[in-house]
């Protein structure tokens, strides 16, 4: 008789396999979290009707050409080709609302013809002209531009750094679950409702991954159903029954079987939810309620075809009237679908990503690849504000613009000095765009710009002095951190989504370490950099 020869490899099992016994241990450790959540009187996480939409800007956005430190003489000096010029007719040291010179009064003019920095009115910073559609959101007080965002011991690897942003755990490569996954686990809803965290892109991002509950990714919701052999109503039913039956089969443990099991259950439990929503292109009829650029007719909110792209169709198919590049229709299809999910289902967090920010060469100054990406950011935020602010939009209208925060993330900023290819390389601090009806932007505080002024708590130091000037403050070459990205996300997760401080310390473990100074700021115990703590954005 043959017998098994199974080695006892405790550490193998611990790291690699979930035996029945270990699975039980794992779930036990999670129970207290849920219980603590229930006991936390100050937590409304998942129950306060507030939601989050994230957009990850993959490849590292060149933040110095997004929110431009235009009054820093070191900026133009460092970027002979790439610097955004000042408008000679404007005084950028003046205060006030965001300048609207980038908008046309004559609707026949090209959408993007302004070639100067858009004065933000904080006396120091300007927006890249490709971001002009942020101006109305800014002036409504619904936009916070948070500059100099990074984390201690910044990694300049795309993949490390994206992981750190998505796990909320910088410099910890063993952290395998995502910041938004943990947020949803803390809400206690992960096991009680089918849909909690959703991404609409090619695959589930790390920010929504975790081992104990399945978040949902859809690449194309219009294809989200199954077939049968034969592909008839009866045949499909027979196949679905077989699949549901097999999903319940017990199995010997293997490394990825829990993952497969969770996601199969997620698939079968969400098919019906998504089948009830109209994700079709024909259903994409959402339009703005306000007009821009002197137009008399509002634009479509989600440009998914030329005809729905700005004033193209209104002006005899004029490509100069596009609001976004034609290559961005896939992104806006995803964005629209993410908005539909948040507006029509119980999902709390949804998001997508925008690729292509790794602009090592020929990134473009006023026009080009980087400006083309920025047009998408600005229009996306403008469109989401218009969509969620419209009380007569189609659908269940589960939330309003006041209930939503839109946040962008990007792994790092890019080099202050441009390279020989008229591009920029990997660097340190970047910028976050935070928008929503509840955001405390322009008019609700000193300004809607955070972290890009010599008047900041940690001042922006102009110039090109290595090690001293802000743009040369990290490694004598890169924009130095003024905010920790965790302080921005943490403030949103607590003040907006309703997490208690205790929950937040579990979602973002750095909050539990006083030396990290994430809440109130101070000198980081990790690398000695003085940071400003949470920005007062919400």
């Amino acid at each position: 008789m043959k017998h098994f020869h199974i080695q006892s490899r405790r550490d193998f099992l611990t790291t690699a396999m979930k035996t029945g016994a270990l699975a039980a241990v794992a779930s036990l450790t999670n129970i207290p979290l849920v219980m603590k959540q229930a006991l936390a009187a100050d937590s409304t996480l998942g129950r306060n009707g507030k939601k989050l939409l994230f957009i990850f800007l993959r490849g590292a956005n060149d933040s110095l050409n997004s929110v431009v430190p235009i009054m820093d003489d070191g900026y133009a000096a460092s970027r002979p080709t790439l610097a955004i010029p000042k408008d000679p007719g404007l005084d950028y040291s003046a205060g006030g609302a965001c300048d609207l010179s980038a908008f046309n009064t004559d609707p026949t003019q090209p959408t993007f013809k302004y070639g100067s920095g858009i004065r933000l009115g904080n006396g120091f910073a300007a927006l890249h002209p490709s971001l002009k559609f942020l101006a109305p959101v800014y002036n409504a007080g619904d936009l916070a531009l948070v500059h100099r965002v990074a984390y201690p011991k910044q990694s300049r690897s795309h993949f490390d750094s994206q992981n750190y942003w998505e796990t909320g755990n910088p410099n910890n490569n063993l952290s395998k679950d995502g910041i938004f996954y943990r947020t949803i686990i803390e809400s206690g809803l992960a096991h009680t409702q089918a849909l909690t965290g959703v991404s609409i892109q090619s695959s589930l991002p790390l920010s929504l991954r975790g081992s104990d509950a399945a978040m949902t990714n859809l690449n194309d919701p219009t294809r989200y159903d199954l077939l049968g052999v034969p592909n008839t109503t009866a045949g499909n039913g027979k196949a679905a029954a077989a699949l549901n039956n097999a999903n319940l089969f017990p199995f010997p443990d293997k490394m990825n079987r829990e993952l497969l099991s969770l996601q199969y259950q997620n698939l079968t439990s969400t098919l019906q939810i998504f089948a009830g929503l109209d994700f079709s292109e024909a259903g994409n009829t959402y339009q703005a309620t306000t007009t821009v650029d002197g137009e008399s007719t509002p634009y479509y909110l989600f440009p998914t075809s030329n005809a729905k792209n700005g004033g193209y169709a209104m002006h005899a198919n004029d490509p100069q009237k596009y609001v976004v590049p034609t290559g961005s229709y896939g992104f806006f299809t995803n964005l629209k679908n993410a908005a539909l999910v948040l507006d029509n289902t119980d999902a709390i967090i949804a998001g997508s990503q925008l690729d292509g920010f790794d602009t090592h060469q020929n990134q473009g100054t006023i026009t080009g690849s980087h400006p083309n990406l920025q047009k998408q950011i600005a229009w996306a935020i403008f469109a989401l504000k218009e969509y969620f602010s419209n009380p007569s939009r189609k659908g269940a209208k589960k939330i309003t613009w006041d209930d939503l925060v839109v946040v962008t993330m990007s792994e790092f900023g890019r080099t202050t000095v441009e390279n020989s290819d008229k591009g920029t390389d990997h660097a340190e601090a970047g910028v976050m765009f935070v928008a929503g009806g509840a955001v405390k932007g322009y008019g609700q505080g000193p300004t809607g710009v955070f972290g890009c002024s010599p008047n900041d708590k940690v001042p922006w130091v102009p110039g090109t002095v290595a090690g001293t000037s802000s743009m040369f403050g990290a490694d004598s070459r890169y924009l130095k951190r003024g905010y920790d990205y965790r302080s921005v996300l943490g403030r949103i997760i607590r003040n907006h989504l309703g997490a208690s401080q205790d929950q937040l310390s579990r979602i973002i473990p750095g909050y539990a370490v006083s030396g990290e100074a994430l809440l109130a700021g101070g000198r980081s115990s990790k690398d000695g950099v003085t940071i400003m703590g949470e920005p007062d954005i919400i």
Binding site: L204, N219, R223, P252, D253, N419, S420, D421
Partner: protein, 951 residues
């Protein structure tokens, strides 16, 4: 030792396996209801059979209980009320069978039914040995055969009409012959009226055909015909793609949406590749007579051809491990064809897609060739990647400059360490990146003559291609885009020292720890671009002077003098026209120096100097520029002198010597201090750093073993090092101890011999990527027939869209330089699973059936397979059919663990299409559509379970 707990009043139960230890972790439970005992059996991987043993008294031995029954993971038995002890036991599947499934899942793109039988027969180790030596596997796939047939050949294509208009065009300027073009209704090319007018070209081309301007040289010819008296000689002066660049006609009697068959005869023109396309507007029927291999070899394939070819190798090649490794290399040294295409769009108008695809083809062919060598090293593979034009474009070295005030682009410098060799956070820092970025400046591209693809110092091709008029326009040149080094773009501003003062950290242990891996890249002091003087005195051995470069390259020469005595340049110059004032008069130029010219700008003296250019190194009269009949007297003393300055290429030395070597003068080669030598030095250094050995070994372990291998964390000195860490260490040692270091096969052997890879517990930990999932699905059902057909097949092209939908896997076109993930989590989510399941269902739906569209030209015929493999007495035996397909689809699971699947499969076979009505499988006539549908549905049901994603 094994009494775990008491359950119930009368029975004490434990589950254990004789002599094994897993039972201590394995929860089992016993319930007794109405005198029936039910035991939930432990679920043990790879179990063929579960048994329950019992004893009434622990002092006695356990006996296998023959009463009771196992179904799935449950044992039931009636109990008599007496106390007893039980334990469960699993009989493992035969190791040989387990290993056969394992190696075909990991070292291949999944088992085929035939290969599974073969590996079980010869044993997994014999198969591994065979796969590790692909050069010993004889194979001649039709997809690799370049069509060199110059005769008339027939092509037939059936499809659905999308338009009434048929276009004929060439996608590249050139010519071909075409005759007897027929478009008929239905699927038979020989039945029905030809719906095209003058498809046999027996009358004048117009008015039946409309000829676009770029094809206006096309004529009806009578000397080269297939049938009748006329054929079309199609001649394109520029590339075609649509109606306005084609020869076309509208077939009035075609009905859109109906099936038609296009057939024609063609014959190559000047080149064996035709680049011809015949298609209906809307591409319902498309035909290109060139085979994939012909297109790839001819440089006119686009990336979809390359993808199809790659997929077809994965499906069909016997050299499966090689295919797995090639995909690994392609993905590890990732490049992006669309970025190459974008680069070439600045040079070409229409051909950029082909040029870009050709880079991917040449890259993978170089790796394929390298893997044929038993001693192939990682350095070989890294070098191929560094030299690949696709990489040079992808990570931006192509335009990176380090001269003057320019700051080099850091992209390749970072990723070559982070992603291609050492691994992130593993032995380098930003300073090293910045320093290394200087090294790669000058590593760029140019279009060079055939045969010069691997010579980075080759000069730009000066051969005009047909129709080309201007050698200054690269689009007009004939040649190959290749890695080319340009000194003028190189950072040349000082000594570079990489990894200054760094040493291997203690965690690596001996002999690695403490090694200083500083790499000094010396800058040759002789970096002057000025004219320099070389002098040599000696005894004349002949009257003939040779001048040659030792390697391909170029250099400037002026004022060659030979004077009597030992003082240079004093006395009469015995070399006539030594200053090249009369061009090359007096000098004879050998073929390898045929590009040599005289110049007038920047000369040393006078009006002209020589620009000595070599396409191959020289050594003697026949490979030099030489001067005979010098006025020398053999045996007397003379002094030779000349002036030289560096050309664009560096790295070769110029030699001027008398035949017989009585006097030899050499301008010293700039062997270092230039970016070419620096780059190769860096590659050599990076390739065998302990960090690289660790990172690549861990990555190979993730490919072949499971997802949880890491780099940068293991402490190899730790006595409690994990088995994963120990395996990585064993790989590092094998890498380090080889001569040469870093032999891929030696590292793989360590992995394949490891317990982590081979043990009963090691199977099925990995999840398939979309490519692995789709290819393995086809292979699972694919048995090749002697007539070339198979029970499952794909055209290769039909895989592109499905794997894109299963998580944006675009072969040869990954945007991010980290390549596609090897671990499971990024691939598995509800949306991507829906696409996987839909595709499997589409694959199993018969071609033409509703829902098959997603699978395109990927098809399966499971009934043909079962009738081939099972005796006809079993064709209607639901159990036998279920067993057969479970055995080939999930070969590593163990029969006992598949019992629940077997029950479900049999139930499926015995149920009507509505999923409710009983419809015994035994009663279906096995030649009917109902039988076919039933089997297809059952196979789809098995292949859409969670288990088929695993490997």
């Amino acid at each position: 030792m094994y009494i775990a707990h008491h359950v119930g009043r009368f029975l004490a139960l434990t589950a254990a396996i004789c002599g094994s230890v897993f039972a201590q972790d394995t929860g089992v439970s016993l319930t007794i209801t109405n005198g029936t005992a039910v035991i939930d059996l432990p679920k043990i991987p790879g179990t063929d059979q579960y048994k329950v043993l019992g004893t009434p008294d622990l002092s006695g031995g356990f006996n296998v209980l023959n009463s009771g029954a196992v179904s799935g993971f449950t044992w039931t038995n009636s109990v008599g009320g007496t106390q007893g002890f039980f334990r469960a036991m699993g009989i493992p599947m035969p190791t040989n069978d387990m290993l056969a499934g394992l190696v075909l899942n990991r070292l291949a793109y999944g088992p085929t039914p035939d290969e599974l039988e073969r590996v079980k027969a010869i044993g997994a180790d014999a198969w591994i040995a065979e796969q590790l030596a692909p050069e010993t596997i004889s194979e001649s796939l039709d997809i690799d055969i370049v069509n060199t047939n110059r005769n008339w050949q027939r092509v037939v294509t059936t499809g659905t009409a999308t338009s009434k208009s048929l276009y004929v065009y060439l996608t590249v300027p050139g010519d071909a012959y075409l005759d007897d073009v027929k478009l008929v209704s239905g699927s038979n090319p020989d039945t029905g009226a030809n719906l095209l007018a003058n498809g046999d070209f027996e009358t004048t081309l117009t008015p039946s055909w409309t000829v676009s301007t770029n094809l206006s040289d096309s004529t009806i010819v009578s000397d080269v015909v297939h049938g009748g008296a006329g054929a079309l000689h199609i001649i394109a002066s520029s590339a075609g793609s649509s109606q306005s660049s084609s020869i076309w006609q509208t077939a009035a009697n075609v009905t859109v949406g109906q099936t038609y068959t296009l057939s024609y005869w063609w014959k190559p023109g000047t080149n064996i590749i035709s680049n011809m396309t015949l298609r209906l507007s809307g591409s319902g029927i498309v035909s290109n007579p060139d085979t994939i291999a012909t297109k790839l070899a001819g440089g006119s394939a686009i990336i979809d051809d390359m993808r199809a070819w790659h997929v077809l190798h994965a499906v069909r090649s016997k050299k499966q491990l090689q295919e797995v490794l090639l995909q690994f290399l392609e993905n590890h040294f990732v490049t992006q064809v669309s970025k190459s295409q974008d680069y070439f769009s600045n040079i070409y108008n229409g051909e950029e897609a082909m040029v870009a695809a050709s880079l991917e083809y040449r890259e993978i062919q170089r790796w394929r060739e390298a893997l044929q060598s038993p001693t192939c090293t990682f350095e070989d593979l890294l070098k191929i990647s560094a030299e690949s034009p696709a990489m040079i474009i992808y990570l931006d070295t192509v335009n990176s400059r380090g001269n003057g005030s320019n700051i080099p682009n850091e992209n390749y410098a970072r990723e070559v360490m982070e992603l291609f060799s050492m691994g992130v956070d593993n032995g380098y820092d930003q300073t090293d990146i910045t320093l290394l970025s200087r090294v790669w400046t000058g590593w760029t591209l140019d279009i060079v003559d055939p045969g010069q693809e691997l010579n980075p110092l080759a000069l730009r091709s000066t051969t005009l291609r047909p129709g080309g008029t201007n050698v200054n326009n690269r689009e007009n040149l004939q040649g190959t885009w290749a890695f080319n080094y340009k000194q003028s773009m190189h950072w040349d501003q000082g000594t570079t020292v990489l990894f200054p003062g760094k040493s291997v950290p203690p965690r690596f242990g001996p002999p690695y720890a403490g090694r200083d891996y500083t790499l000094g890249i010396d800058v040759d002091p002789n970096t002057s671009t000025n004219w320099q003087h070389v002098v040599a005195t000696g005894t004349a051995t002949s009257k003939t002077l040779y001048m040659y470069l030792s390697a391909p390259g170029d250099i400037y020469i002026d004022d060659v003098q030979i004077v009597a005595g030992d003082v240079p340049d004093v006395g009469a110059n015995l070399v006539s026209n030594g200053g090249f004032e009369s061009g090359l008069t007096g000098w004879t130029v050998s073929p390898n120096h045929a590009n040599t010219v005289t110049i007038t700008d920047g000369v040393h003296s006078g009006a002209q100097a020589l620009h000595l250019i070599a396409t191959e190194g020289g050594s003697s009269q026949g490979s030099s520029v030489y001067h005979t009949g010098l006025g020398l007297t053999t045996g007397q003393t003379y002094t030779l002198s000349f002036w030289w300055k560096p050309g664009d290429a560096v790295g070769s030395s110029v030699t001027l010597r008398l035949s017989g070597s009585g006097i030899v003068a050499t301008a010293p080669p700039r062997t270092s201090g230039d970016g070419l030598a620096q780059g190769y030095k860096v590659i050599h250094h990076l390739a065998n750093l302990p960090f690289t050995e660790e990172f690549i070994s861990a990555k190979l372990c993730r490919l072949f073993v499971h997802d949880n291998f890491h780099h940068g964390v293991y402490d190899y000195t730790d006595p409690n090092l994990s088995p994963e860490g120990k395996l990585v260490k064993a790989c590092i040692d094998a890498w380090e101890n080889g001569t040469p270091k870093g032999q891929i096969r030696q590292v793989l052997q360590v992995i394949f011999n490891s317990d982590l890879f081979r043990s009963q517990n090691a199977v099925l930990h990995k999840v398939k990527t979309p490519l692995e999932f789709t290819v393995s699905a086809i292979r699972t059902l694919r048995s090749e027939n002697s007539d070339g057909t198979a029970t499952a097949n794909t055209d290769g092209y039909s895989i592109k869209d499905p794997i894109n939908r299963m998580g944006a896997m675009k072969l040869f076109d990954r945007a991010e330089p980290n390549g596609y993930p090897e671990d499971a989590a990024p691939w598995i989510s509800a949306g991507t699973l829906a696409e996987r399941l839909r595709w499997v269902q589409a694959l199993l739906i018969a071609p033409g059936g509703s829902g098959h569209t997603d699978a395109g030209n990927s098809v399966s015929d499971p009934v043909a397979l079962l009738k081939k493999k099972l005796p006809n007495t079993s064709w209607n035996d639901a159990g036998a059919v279920a067993d057969y397909f479970l055995g080939i689809i999930l070969p590593s699971e163990g029969k006992a663990n598949l019992d629940i699947y077997r029950i479900a499969a049999i139930n499926f076979l015995n149920t009507g299409d509505d999923g409710v009505t009983s419809s015994p499988f035994a009663a279906l006539t096995n030649t009917t559509a109902a039988y076919d549908t039933r089997v297809r549905g059952m196979v789809a049901a098995i292949m859409t379970t969670q288990r088929f994603h695993e490997q």
